[in-house]
Subunit: 151 residues, 2 copies
């Protein structure tokens, strides 16, 4: 093999092993999705929240059953909005993975009213498995969380 | 380029894009690890349980704080064993991902004694992010679970 052909091989293999940075590191896309997810929730837009999930997404709820599919996920989030949950914040702590699947470890906080209407803040932690759609958009595929200790 | 060189290119690219089946599908490795994880727990071997986690692993506990590092994870599992938890079962429901990171959605059950010593069974669901070590062994990297509704 000539040296120039060797170089061609090296370039091709490097391109295959190292796709463009935006394909390798979904962190920016995921952080942007967390912002629009929380904004949708905080304006009471359950459809806007649900649009962040894959059509075949699932949420694994604490002390409740698994919820499968975007329509059912939307119904869950509508219930949370109707129950008065608000001030949702989502923060990516760790993002990893490769290809069309990424994982995110995150922190969540929100406020909820008690029976008197007084609001208190709760915090929790979560892992989301994100999936990149054929349209290039990262969506929540599997979503599980649990509560932090009460303060 | 000659046709034979084109074939060489195609073979190289195919090899890079399609690593051996055992590298692409960690499901068998993960299911085997679940068996030895549960066996270690059920014989009261907290070190054996902890060995399934990456040195920099973390568990995200319901209603408690995040626990980082294999030594602290071992202490957590020792506490669970000392509290009388037993009959642990782990079942992989979904396994995905690529490269050295995989995710698993799973189901867990165990028994725990009440104050009278009578045992009852609890079930939950979890997501584990698995990481393949430089030694080729898949270990739990991030581990989060929550409870199913009480029956």
């Amino acid at each position: 093999m000539t040296r120039s052909l060797g170089l061609v091989f090296a370039v091709i293999i490097a391109a295959v092993l190292n796709p463009p940075a935006n394909a390798q590191s979904p962190r920016d896309d995921i952080e942007a999705a967390l912002v629009t997810f929380a904004a949708a929730f905080n304006r009471g837009d359950d459809a806007g929240v649900a649009a962040h999930y894959a059509e075949d997404g699932a949420i694994l709820l604490p002390d409740s059953a698994r919820v499968d599919g975007r329509a059912n996920i939307q119904a869950f989030w509508k219930g949370a909005i109707d129950a008065g949950l608000a001030d949702l914040t989502l923060k990516a702590v760790e993002v990893g993975g490769s290809g069309d699947i990424a994982f995110e470890v995150g922190e969540v906080s929100y406020s909820a009213p008690d029976k008197t209407g007084a609001r208190s803040t709760a915090t929790g932690k979560y892992i989301v498995v994100w999936k990149k759609g054929t349209d290039g958009v990262w969506r929540l595929y599997r979503d599980i969380w649990n509560a932090n200790p009460a303060k």
